[in-house]
């Protein structure tokens, strides 16, 4: 068995005194598609943001390809790494946000090339070629010169996916990427994600689209009050929930 792509060990996260993640352990292998479900406030977003190092965490480790990210130990004391190393570690994962967060002053193409140019230091032509490849993959090549304000929510979210994946991350993180969209725009985004999953992209995604989670995931995780409540293949989790909490959650969800 190959080494896992990402290992989360005993992750604890507090906001002030409120503990939001209470010891999360999770292993993700290459090409896994792991969906996180769970009720609002259970810590799903926070978990993803810790992996992308947008949040600090107080205890535990996250390793990608065996290397710890975000923190280092010096004389037995835990230190957050410097901004430039955090940036390098952050580039190992690609994050897609619920609210798209495209760069409003840049065209779709430049939204994608910015990171390629300034982080990956690609030559202009190469960056444009790479960006056009990914915009094509998400079906937006014809929209490359439009600004975010000129695109629909679904199109913006697809640009955001292209922007993240063009950086060639080892792991893609999706945080409820369709929940800010009008219902008729949800499918165009989900099918892009499905397409990437079929291609072997490793993903950790938070979703309320149960049907989608069932379809696309290799593993489903049920987050409950800051911990992983249950974990397993989708068929097992959805058809034979072990806990009362998960059974109720599934009953109250729409498929």
């Amino acid at each position: 068995m190959a080494n896992p792509l990402m290992v989360i060990e005993n992750l604890h996260k507090k906001f002030d005194k409120m503990e939001v993640l209470k010891g999360v352990d999770l292993t993700i292998n290459t090409s896994d598609v792991v969906s996180i479900i769970g009720s609002s406030g259970s810590g799903k977003t926070t978990l993803l943001r810790c992996v992308n190092l947008l949040e600090e965490f107080h205890e535990g480790r996250i390793l990608i390809d065996g290397e710890e990210i975000g923190y280092t130990k010096k004389n037995d004391k835990r230190h957050r790494l410097s901004s430039s190393i955090l940036a390098q570690h952050r580039a190992l994962t690609g994050m897609v946000f619920q609210t798209f967060n495209l760069f409003p002053h840049l065209t779709a193409l430049k939204n994608v090339t910015l990171g390629l140019r300034k982080v990956k230091r690609m030559k202009k032509e190469e960056a444009i070629e790479t960006a056009r490849h990914w915009l094509n993959r998400v079906g937006l090549l014809n929209w490359q010169d439009h600004h975010p304000g000129q695109l629909s929510g679904g199109q913006q979210q697809r640009v955001a996916i292209a922007r993240a994946i063009a950086m060639n991350p080892k792991l893609m993180l999706f945080d409820e990427v369709t929940s800010a969209l009008d219902p008729e725009l949800v499918n165009e985004v989900l099918s892009v994600i499905k397409d990437l999953a079929d291609d072997g992209m490793t993903m950790l995604l938070v979703t309320h689209e149960m049907h989608f989670a069932y379809d696309v995931s290799t593993t489903v995780i049920f987050m409950n009050e800051g911990k992983i409540g249950e974990q397993g293949p989708p068929s097992e989790l959805f058809q034979n929930p072990k806990s009362q909490r998960l059974a109720e959650f599934i009953k109250n969800s729409t498929f």
């Binding site: 955090l86 940036a87 690609g94 994050m95 946000f97 002053h105 910015l114 300034k118 993240a164 950086m167």
Partner: protein, 219 residues
């Protein structure tokens, strides 16, 4: 009233007035340019989590904004030499206007920064940019566009403040207008022409900045 308008004396020295206007514009451009960098840094300091930086920035902005600019000009020109820092009058005025514009621009930039959605910074970080990279490529370009109208007003107001340089005999437009007034007694003519020149310059600056605004507008 038997004052008869006669602009001959003013036209004779019109090249002086023009050179004064040119100097005033240059003083404003240099001061605003450097002041913008100070303003940007101070604005980031103001919203930073670091207490020390925030206090320094707040002190700077509060102190400068609550001192009349003429006092600042005199302070730099007359008091600093006593403390061992001797500057020529032009350098002295540029120094003052730079510090002064920096404080006002800090407020403009700070307002723009706090109005940005938090997601913007996080999106920059998420693609692997550093904190500074995010500021330079994402935060500042978006923020500047949103504050351009306020910036234009400040630029114009700072340009008009160059007239106060006459108080320490910097040969800009107001200085020459007064010189012509004193030498020729063409009181109305000299000040009318000077006023018109200020109005025209401000009008052109405003028009130019509006053009820039339109060019940079986010579709």
């Amino acid at each position: 009233m038997d004052y008869r308008l006669n602009f001959d004396a003013v036209w004779r020295d019109f090249d002086l007035l023009l050179s004064g206007l040119g100097l005033g514009l240059s003083l404003a451009v240099v001061s605003i340019f450097i002041g913008s960098f100070i303003g940007l840094l101070a604005a980031f300091a103001m919203i930073s989590k670091n207490n020390l930086w925030r206090r320094i920035a707040v002190f700077y902005v509060t102190a400068i904004r609550n001192t009349p600019i003429l006092v600042l000009i005199f302070f730099t020109f007359f008091a600093l030499p006593q403390l061992g820092l001797r500057l020529g009058k032009i350098e002295s005025f540029v120094f003052t206007l730079t510090i002064y514009s920096g404080a006002y621009l800090t407020e403009v930039f700070r307002g723009g920064l706090v109005a940005l959605p938090v997601g913007l910074r996080e999106a920059g970080l998420a693609i692997g940019l550093t904190e500074w990279g995010t500021k330079i490529w994402v935060i500042i370009p978006v923020m500047i566009r949103s504050v351009l109208p306020a910036l234009s007003n400040n630029f114009i107001s700072l340009f008009k403040d160059t007239s106060l340089a006459a108080a320490i005999a910097v040969p800009e437009l107001t200085f020459y207008a007064r010189q012509i007034n004193v030498n020729t007694f063409r009181v109305i003519e000299s000040w009318a022409v000077a006023s018109l020149m200020y109005v025209s310059a401000c009008y052109l600056i405003a028009a130019g900045l509006r053009l820039l605004e339109r060019k940079l507008a986010i579709p």
